[in-house]
């Protein structure tokens, strides 16, 4: 290190001297193509980069607002809320983590379920909130999902789930793993009732979520570039000690390997989901 420190410092950075002040949040930079974007344009474009089509992650409520008709929305299972059944503690207790996430994300847990309609096609839509503990699935996610499916059955509607999750929530131990079985079982009843289930995979859909209801759609849709898989890329790399192929576990890779039906750009999602559902349910074509 010695000689490096002795070099004359010709270029010095003067903190704050040359910076133009830009109002916070007016502009944002695309993390894929680096284009500087007007924040408003990005919002109007469903958080998809207008330059390169990169799909930024979006919150559950924003997603629901994009998809559902404004009228006639009813939330399902909002009263189902998390507890800390194992008194789990790592650097923080799970109870604290729940509280913090609830405060910062302004949701009670990682799945929001809404009954409503998409271009007048009635459906129950469950959406993951990735910001809430990485969209992890614990007891509340499983219960809300199951109640959503039941509501769809009771009202003879379609069910849609839009996943964005790192997998099962470790802090609830085996109770989380069992949510994989619970959600999958709920779907057997939907199927028996002859109602369609569309699974939409967004970035990222991994682990216990991917290995249960997310891969059980009558139709499985993914957003472009979404990371989808069972094991995380790092775990695989450490296990097989090989470099992963290009585009591994991305939506396009899954499409090529026959794991999903189609990739839909978020900006077309509402129209195409409505049309798919109307076709599956033999309803008149959507306008």
């Amino acid at each position: 290190m010695g000689w490096l420190n002795k070099l004359p410092q010709k270029i010095q950075r003067v903190v704050g001297a040359d910076k133009k002040t830009v109002p916070e949040g007016l502009w944002s930079k695309c993390s894929s193509c680096q284009s500087v974007l007007y924040r408003k344009d990005l919002e109007d474009n469903a958080e998809v980069c207008p330059k390169c089509g990169y799909h930024n992650r979006i919150g559950a409520r924003a997603r629901l607002a994009q998809l559902l008709d404004a009228e006639g929305q009813f939330e399902i299972g909002a009263n189902v809320q998390p507890i800390d059944p194992l008194k789990f503690k790592d650097s923080k207790s799970y109870a604290e983590r729940i509280k913090e996430s609830q405060k910062s994300v302004n949701e009670k847990d990682a799945l929001i379920v809404m009954q409503g309609s998409i271009k007048s096609v009635p459906a129950v839509v469950a959406v993951f909130e990735f910001k809430f503990m990485g969209g992890s699935m614990g007891s509340v996610v499983g219960e809300r999902f199951a109640r959503g499916v039941q509501t769809a059955i009771d009202n003879k509607m379609a069910f849609i789930c839009i996943s964005a999750s790192g997998g099962a929530r470790m802090q609830e131990g085996l109770l989380s793993l069992m949510q994989m079985a619970k959600t999958s079982a709920a779907l057997t009843q939907l199927s028996k009732a002859g109602l369609p289930y569309i699974s939409v995979l967004t970035d990222p859909t991994m682990g216990g979520v991917s290995a249960s209801f997310a891969m059980l759609g009558d139709v499985i849709v993914a957003e472009p570039q979404a990371l989808i898989g069972f094991a995380g890329p790092r775990v695989i790399e450490q296990t097989v000690r090989e470099t992963l192929p290009d585009g591994f576990q991305r939506a396009e890779f899954l499409l090529e390997h026959g794991a999903i039906d189609l990739i839909i750009d978020r900006r077309e999602m509402r129209n195409r989901l409505a049309s798919l559902l109307a076709n599956l349910m033999r309803l008149p074509a959507v306008a």
Partner: protein, 323 residues
């Protein structure tokens, strides 16, 4: 077979070695009466074993669950069943040796047995992929589930895996879908399913054989959403904290029984199943017989209703009053 002792079993190992050497030296000078000393030492050994095995930590139990001499699925099949005919392959890609299955008889009754299979020596361990199935394994199991359903034959699954294999090919061939499909199909399969956790119940890879009507668990088995090491490296930022994570995750039979996630604990011989395999087999046989007999009298309709209710009951949460 020479017994492999785990770290925490070393005091027992030393004492047993002492007893052994005393016994063998006795053969050389049989005019010496050492029976008194032997009895005392054996008593001490028993007491030591009771102390150690009576107070195992969750981490020590995970070591027991992974003990290299523990009986594996094929050992149980050989001991508890007759006329076993192994059935191979997923009919689409290959045969995965990390899952074995086939038709057999249990006390005369036809049963479909399916389980994860680990290997005993280095070569077999590799062949069995350390009991980590690829999608083909789950799809073979699925095929056997359907076969059992078709002929109205009850299913017994043996669970013993570190988890589903995290590999490139496994992902390419749909590991997630393979597991998910099994969960779905097992939930509505029209035949009784009994599961036994004989060793490690590693996450989704275990659950894919674990959606059952009755779940038995051996005393020193574990069942977990993630391995203690995996949890430690993610949440505690250090794999050394595996013992802490093992405790926190509630992976042992008694904790899971309290949580209502397993139905019955099958006690193991002192020191674990591998110390007295015949004893283990005998007590599991009794437990399995009880379950299989119980399901004989149940109609498929009630079976499916109670299976669905059981699945829907999983989870702990609170319900607050609607605003």
């Amino acid at each position: 077979m020479k017994i492999t002792y785990l770290d925490f079993e070393q005091p027992i190992a030393q004492l047993e070695a002492k007893i052994e050497s005393l016994r063998s030296s006795h053969d050389d000078h049989d005019n010496l009466d050492i029976s008194k000393e032997l009895t005392a030492l054996e008593k001490k050994s028993k007491k030591l074993s009771e102390d150690i095995y009576g107070n195992l930590t969750a981490w020590q139990i995970s070591q027991m669950a992974r003990h290299p001499q523990r009986p594996y699925t094929l050992d149980y099949i050989q001991a508890l069943f007759t006329d076993f005919e192994e059935l191979h392959g997923d009919r689409a890609f290959s045969d995965d040796p990390a899952i074995v299955g086939g038709i057999a008889r249990f006390e005369g009754q036809p049963v479909m047995v399916i389980g994860h299979q680990k290997g005993r020596d280095i070569k077999e361990r590799q062949y069995r992929n350390f009991g980590m199935p690829r999608p083909e394994g789950y799809r073979k199991a699925l095929r056997l589930f359907r076969l059992a359903e078709k002929f109205n034959i009850p299913i017994v699954t043996f669970i013993d895996t570190p988890g589903a294999y995290p590999g490139i090919g496994a992902e390419e061939r749909g590991q997630s879908e393979a597991i998910a499909r099994n969960l779905y199909v097992m939930a509505e399969l029209k035949t009784p399913i009994i599961g036994v956790i004989i060793g490690e119940g590693g996450s989704g890879g275990a659950l894919a054989l674990g959606v059952v009507d009755q779940l038995l668990m051996l005393q020193y088995g574990t069942y977990s959403v993630i391995s203690p090491e995996g949890c430690a490296s993610i949440l505690y930022k250090s794999a050394d904290k595996a013992s802490v994570a093992a405790e926190a995750l509630a992976i042992t039979a008694d904790k899971l029984k309290t949580l209502g996630l397993i139905d019955k604990i099958v006690p193991e011989p002192m020191g674990g199943a591998h110390r007295a395999p015949e004893e283990m087999m005998a007590s599991l046989k009794v437990a399995l017989k009880e379950e299989l007999t119980r399901f004989k009298s149940k109609s498929i309709k009630t079976l499916l209703v109670s299976r669905y209710e059981r699945l829907m009951s999983y989870g702990k949460f609170k319900e607050v009053a609607e605003k």
